[in-house]
C-alpha cells in the first residue's frame, strides 16, 4: 500500500506529472509565441502562474450557487487526471507492480476531468458557465465514440488484449502501430480527440474567451482555479503519453532512450500546439458533425484496413 501511495503521489504520479506537465505547458506557450512572432514566457512561467493563483490571489465564490460542489469539483478533476496518469505511466515506464487498470478503465477515468469541469461550472450558477458546460458535454459525447473506436482498433491490432502493458508489448518485436496505414489514420483521429479533450482550439468552444468569457471557468479564481490549472498541466502530459504508449511502442529509459522519450512527447505536443495555432474555433454543431461523421468514418476505415492486414 505504501508503494502504491508512492506511485500515486510522487513518481510516476502527482508530483512527477505536475512538474513535467508544467514544463510542457511552457513548451506549448513558447511555440505559440514563436508562431505569433512574440518572445514568449520564461521557463518557469507555468509554475509562477500556479503559485500566484494558489498563494496570492483572492478566491471569489459565487453568491448564488452550490459553494461546496463548486469548490470540490476541481479536487475531483485533479484526482481524475492524476489517477489516469498513474495508470498510463506505470505500464509506460515498465513498472510491473502496483495497481493496474485496462484501457477501458483509463478511457473512463480520462473523462472525469471534463465531467468535473461541467459540474463545477453548473454549480457556479453563472449562465455563461452553463453555456460552456453544455458545450463541453456535447463535445465529450461527440469525441467519446471516435476515441473508443481508436482504442477498439488498437485492441484488435494487439490480439484482443485490453491491458496497456500488452498493447505496448505487442508493438515491441515488429514496428510500432504508427508504422502502418491504419495506424497513421488512427493517429490522426486520436490527435483530434486529444485536441478536444484538452479543450484546445479549434475545439475550445467550452471556454471561448472572446465569446463567453472563459465559459466553464468564468467563476473560478484563486486557489480553485489553481487546481484547475494544475489539472490542465497534468492532462497536457498524460494524454500525449497515452498516445505514445498506444502508437509509438511506449518509451525506453535506457541511455539514449531518454532523449527519444522526450522527443516523442515534444513531437506530439508540437502537433497539438501547431493545430491550435493555425485553426479558428469551430461552432459546437460543426465540431459534433466533425467527430460524428468524419472522425468516426476515418476510424471505421482504419478498422476495415486492419481486417485486410494493413
Amino acid at each position: 500500500m505504501l508503494k502504491d501511495l508512492f506511485y500515486y503521489l510522487i513518481y510516476p504520479g502527482f508530483l512527477f506529472v505536475a512538474v513535467a506537465g508544467g514544463l510542457l505547458s511552457f513548451f506549448d506557450r513558447k511555440i505559440t509565441a514563436w508562431v505569433q512572432f512574440r518572445k514568449g514566457p520564461p521557463l518557469l512561467q507555468p509554475f509562477y502562474d500556479f503559485f500566484k493563483l494558489l498563494l496570492v490571489k483572492e478566491t471569489i465564490i459565487p453568491a448564488k450557487g452550490s459553494r461546496i460542489t463548486f469548490l470540490l469539483a476541481p479536487v475531483f478533476s485533479l484526482f481524475g487526471a492524476t489517477v489516469s496518469s498513474v495508470l498510463i505511466f506505470l505500464p509506460l515506464l515498465g513498472i510491473k507492480t502496483g495497481f493496474t487498470g485496462d484501457v477501458i478503465v483509463i478511457f473512463y477515468l480520462l473523462t472525469i476531468p471534463s465531467l468535473t469541469y461541467i459540474i463545477g461550472a453548473l454549480a457556479s450558477g453563472n449562465p455563461f458557465a452553463s453555456v460552456g458546460a453544455s458545450r463541453e458535454m456535447k463535445l465529450v459525447v461527440s469525441y467519446e465514440l471516435s476515441f473508443l473506436l481508436v482504442l477498439i482498433a488498437l485492441i484488435i491490432k494487439s490480439d484482443m488484449s485490453i491491458s496497456l502493458y500488452d498493447i505496448i508489448n505487442a508493438q515491441q518485436p515488429a514496428n510500432a502501430f504508427i508504422g502502418s496505414i491504419s495506424g497513421v489514420i488512427l493517429f490522426i483521429v486520436a490527435i483530434f480527440c486529444l485536441q478536444a479533450k484538452l479543450g484546445l482550439v479549434p475545439f475550445d468552444m467550452a471556454e471561448a474567451e472572446t465569446e463567453i468569457t472563459h465559459g466553464s471557468f468564468i467563476e473560478y479564481s484563486g486557489s480553485a482555479y489553481a487546481l484547475i490549472k494544475l489539472t490542465k498541466y497534468i492532462m497536457l502530459f498524460t494524454l500525449p503519453a497515452f498516445i505514445i504508449a498506444l502508437f509509438m511502442r511506449g518509451i525506453n529509459l535506457e541511455g539514449i532512450g531518454i532523449l527519444w522519450a522526450i522527443l516523442k512527447v515534444l513531437a506530439v505536443v508540437l502537433i497539438l500546439t501547431l493545430i491550435r495555432n493555425t485553426n479558428p474555433r469551430v461552432r459546437i454543431s460543426q465540431a459534433m458533425r466533425f467527430f460524428f461523421v468524419w472522425m468516426n468514418l476515418l476510424a471505421i476505415i482504419a478498422i476495415v484496413l486492419i481486417f485486410f492486414g494493413y
Binding site: D4, Y8, L9, L54, V56, E58, T59, I60, I61, P62, A63, K64, G65, S66, P74, V75, F76, L78, F79, V83, F99, G101, D102, I104, V105, Y108, L109, T111, I112, L115, I118, L122, A123, S124, G125, N126, P127, F128, S130, A133, S134, M137, K138, E144, L148, I152, M160, S161, I162, T213, I218, E219, G222, S223, A226, L227, I284, S285, M288, I303
Partner: protein, 630 residues
Amino acid sequence: MDHIQLDTLYLPVITAIIFVPILAGIVLFIFPEKIKTVKGIISLIIAAPVLYFSYDIFAQKNMAGKVSLMDGITIKSQVINAWLEGVGKYTAINIDNLSKLITLLIGFFGLIIVIYSLVYINKAKGIRNYYPYVLITLGSSFGAVLADNLILFVIFWGILAITCYKLIKGYDEESSAAAKKTLVIIGASDGLMLLGIGIIWKISGSINMSELSITTTDAIRNLAFITLLIASFAKAGAIPFHTWIPDYVKKAPASSSAYLPASLDKLLGIYFLARICNDVFILNQWLTLVIIIIGVSTIIIAVMMALIQHNYKKLLGYHAVSQVGYMVTGLGLGTPLGIIGGLFHMMNHALYKSGLFLVAGSIEKRTGKEDLDDISGLSKAMPLTFLTGLVFALSISGIPPLNGFASKWTIYQGIIDFGKTPGVANQLWIIWLSLAVIGSALTLASFIKFISGAFLGRRREELKNVREVSIAMWFPKVVLALICVGFGVFATNFVIPKTFIPIAGDFQYVGAWNSTTISLLILISIVLGIIIYLAGNIKNFRVDDSFVGGETFREQTGFASTEFYKTISNYKLFSFIYRKAEEKWFDIYDLSKNIILWFNKKISLAHNGVLSNYAIWILAGLIIMLIFLI
C-alpha cells in the same frame, strides 16, 4: 451437484415469505382508508421480517434444490393426500443461487419502499388500497422468483401485472390511459407467454423449468422461446415493449415507480430472461444475435429519447428502459462474464434507479413541480437529496469507482471476450461495444441535465421555502446511496466473487480494475485537495455575485438546462426522428391500436342494421362451419 437437498425445515419459511404478505395484503383491504398510517405500519411490520427471512434463505450457502410447497403438509385422509400429490406437481419451487439472490433483493426493495411510503403516500393524495397492493406485489414477486413450475410462475407473474395497474392512480385522462397501456402491454405479453408454455408442454411434456433443456432448432421451438422472451422484455421494458414505462412513471406516484418499473419489474424480467436463456433453452447463434441487437438498440434509442425530455420523471423512465439494454446485452452474450455483468447491472440498476425515483418523489413533494424548467438550485435546500441524487446519477452514468461503472465494465469485458470466439454475433462485437459505451456517455449527458436542472444553479424566488424531506424519506435514499458506493468500491474483490460467481461460474477477467485501491486513492486525493486549498490563500475569499459580462443579473437571466442538447435535436435527421417519436410512430401500443381500430372499422361496415343481411351472415357462417365439421 454437490448441493445438499433442500432442507424441508425451510419450507415453512419459504411458504411464509410468499403467502404472509399476500394474505396480509388481502386482510388490509378490510381496513378503512382513513387509517392509512396504521396500514403503513402494519406493512412495515410485515416487510421487515420478510427481509430478514429472505436474507436467511440467501445466507444458507448450501441450500439448493427443488421442493413442492405441498411437501410439508401431511393429512390422514387418503383422498386428500392423493389430491395433494396431484397439486404438488404444480407447486414445485426451485432454490438455486440465482433465485436466492433475487429473493434477497426483492425483500430489500420491499422494505425500502414501505419506509419511504410512510410519509410520501400519507400526505399526498394517495392511491386507494396502496399498501395492500404493495404487500401483494411483494409476496407475488417472491412466488414468481421461487416458482419452478411455469404454471405457478405465470399465476404470480399475472398478479404482478394487476398490482402494477392498481399502483397508479387514475385521476385524469392521461393517467388512466397510462394505466390501461401498462395493463394491455404486460397482459398481452403474458398471454403470449401462455402460448409459449403450451408449446413447451407439448414438446417436452414437462413444465418445470429445472427439467427443461430445449434446443432451439426448429421453428416451433424458436416460437416458444420468442413468446417467453417477449414476456420478459415487456416486464423489464426492452424495446419495442418499453413504451408503458415512460408513461407509467410520469403519472404514477414516485414510490410506485421506484417499486415496480425501477426495481421489481427489472429484477423479475431479467431473472426470467436469465432463466430462459441459460436453463430452459439452448440458444442458437441467430437468437443470440437478435437478443444483442435488441439490447444495444434499447440502450441507444431510449437514451436519445431521454435527452430531450423536460419532465424529470419521464426522463428517469426512459433511463429505466435504456439501462435494460445493458442487462439484455450482457445476458445475451451467454458467457460467464456477460451473465455476471448483466445480473450485476440488474442489481445496480435496481439500486440507483429506485433511488433516483425516490429523489424525484422528494423533489416533487417539496416543490410540487414536475418539469425541469420550473425548478432549479435546490442543492442548498435539500442537501441530502442532492448528494444522494448525485451519487445515483454518477452511478448510472458509469463513473468510476461507483457500482454502475463496475457492472458496465464487466459487460464491456464480456463483449470483448465474446468477440474472441467465432459466431455471427461475435464478429460484430465492435458495434456492440461502441454502442454500449456511447450509450453510457449519452446517459451522463442527460443526467448532467437532470442534476443541473434540479439542484445546481440559482434558486428561484418561488422555491425559497423548500426544505429537506423528513427522515422516513431521506433514510431510504441514503441507504441506497451507501450501497451504491459500497458495491462500487468492493466490486472486484468482494461483490462479484461472493455473489455472482456462484451463479454464473468462474471466469477470467479480461481487463484489470482495482476498485478498492482506486477508491482509497480518491479519499487520499480529497485530503490532498483540501491540503492544497488550506495551504493556499483560500481563507482570503470573497463572496460575490456572478459576472455576466457587465450586465445586471435579473431573475430571468440564465441558460435553462433543458436547452442543453438543442444542438443534437436540431440536426435534420434527429429532428425528424424526434418529431415522429412524439407522434408515437414507434410505439407498439399505438401501432397495434391503430391496426385493430382499422380492422374494427372494416368489420363494422358489415353491421348496417338490415335484417336480411344479418340472416345471410348467419347462414354463411353455418355453411362454413358445416364444411369444416364434416
